[in-house]
Amino acid sequence: MGPVLVNPGERAAQVAERAARESYGRLVALLAAPAGDLELAEDTLAQAFERALTTWPRDGVPDNPEGWLLAVARNRQRDLWKSAAHRRSRSLEAAVDAGADLGAGVVATLDDLDPDRIPDRRLALLFVCAHPAIAADVRTPLMLQVVLGFDAAAIARAFAVPAAAMSQRLVRAKRRIRDARVPFAVPGRQAMPERLPWVLEAVYGCYALSFQDRGEGDSLAGEARHLAVTTARLLGDEPEAWSLAALLTLTSARAAAPGGPYLPLQDQDPGTWDRGLIAEGEAYLRRAGRPGRAPGRFQLEAAIQAVHCDRARAGATDWDALCTLYTALVAIAPSLGGRVAHAAVIGRARSPGAGLELLEALPVERERFQPYHAARGDLLARLGRREEAAAAYTRAAALTTDPAARAFLGRRAEEAGGP
């Protein structure tokens, strides 16, 4: 592929945009690692993108856009490290003045990079974002920004916090990473079991955000799924990482087209599910299998999704399998969501009364938890306790932000309370 000169402006913008989406995290990981400076990496990369948008339309898109961006950002970084102005404002000043070789070492490390063979250090970057020394509530936002390239304003919208507050949190985390010197490294085998769950939790957080439809939903879900698959590939042999990739892929396979009416899982037509994604998710789940080893949380959750997706093939839901999987899941990860789903499945497979009993045993936080009221409404309706069912559905609807789901729950309330 040589430089393309046909309609160069538009093409350059497209290539820059694609490079931004696909390579952002890779380039940030490479640029930030030497000095642990994410802010500087993002600043210089942004400058490189800006330059691409002015020079590519004029001179043509380079053969290796990523390598070009890396080289430009790297040179900019080197200039900054060498400049007195930068040294005055950054911690490197002292190191350089003291004769420590950090500044020179950083430049040498970047120079060693061959732009034609760009290594993938995103895994180390993920472990930085989800480091236990970084506040838990900023890990997912940090991943969204430095690995996936979302801007602070979009992340703030997804988390429903003011943009300025989110920016400040992100900046503080990045400075902490630089100043406390959180290492850009993948933990060794010994530390891995302790560190990996934080990474997977934060990746899962990226995906979970997309359920709260705040405008970023579609792109977030797709990018988060992609990130989970990338994480599993980079790690190679971690069952829970493949399980998370399977979970998000199988969940995505059932995702409704945007703007459509809300349908609960059991009312969905399996014909509308994405068979390609189902097959892909099942393949990931097989990679997670370890005979003789107890399954992890994400493995159980992915297996539950696989059972639901299997209705597309078998025509009916295997409720016994769901009972077994949910019982195992709430035993190792007793989250409120998992326990509500467990109760709903028991209510369906055994008896509504048995499910209701499990719901009543939940802690008081249940009162503000929408799925609790929705599941309770369903079980009460099955028991013929119509007024209580209508009240539970009404409460569930009131706790729902998604308009389509709210409309659905409202209809259920009317049906339960009506003649």
Partner: protein, 125 residues
């Protein structure tokens, strides 16, 4: 990169914890010091006398005021520090994990800013 490990814990005396526990704690600290030394990362260490022995100086309206007792009168006090020189936070965390005072309280890991060498302040990172 220099990190200071600060040991915060309830102050113990021979009367409060018993002579045997006290002796065991001292043995653990001795072996920790030897391990740090052997690893070649130990810069310095200091265990402190009880905070009751402390004297605090503050300027009040420009005049120094001397008070008996520590700067902050809290249940947990700074009991000692160790300064180590290691490549990054993960390495510092590993050494902090092995510190005996962790069983008595908390270990704070604070990156160094500057330290004195030959009478001059030099950066610690």
């Amino acid at each position: 990169m220099r990190y200071m490990l600060l040991f915060h814990h309830r102050e113990a005396t021979e009367e409060s914890v018993g002579a045997e526990a006290m002796a065991e704690g001292m043995r653990a600290m001795a072996s920790y010091a030897a391990t740090l030394e052997q690893a070649g990362i130990l810069v310095s260490g200091q265990v402190l006398r009880p905070s009751a022995d402390s004297t605090t100086l503050t300027l009040v309206d420009g005049e120094p005021r001397i008070q008996d007792g520590p700067f902050a009168d809290t249940k947990e006090q700074l009991g000692g520090v160790v300064v180590i020189d290691v490549p990054d936070l993960d390495a510092a965390l590993d050494w902090a994990r092995q510190a005996p005072p962790l069983s008595w309280g908390s270990v704070e890991i604070r990156p160094g800013g500057m330290h004195i060498e030959d009478g001059k302040w030099v950066p610690s990172w």
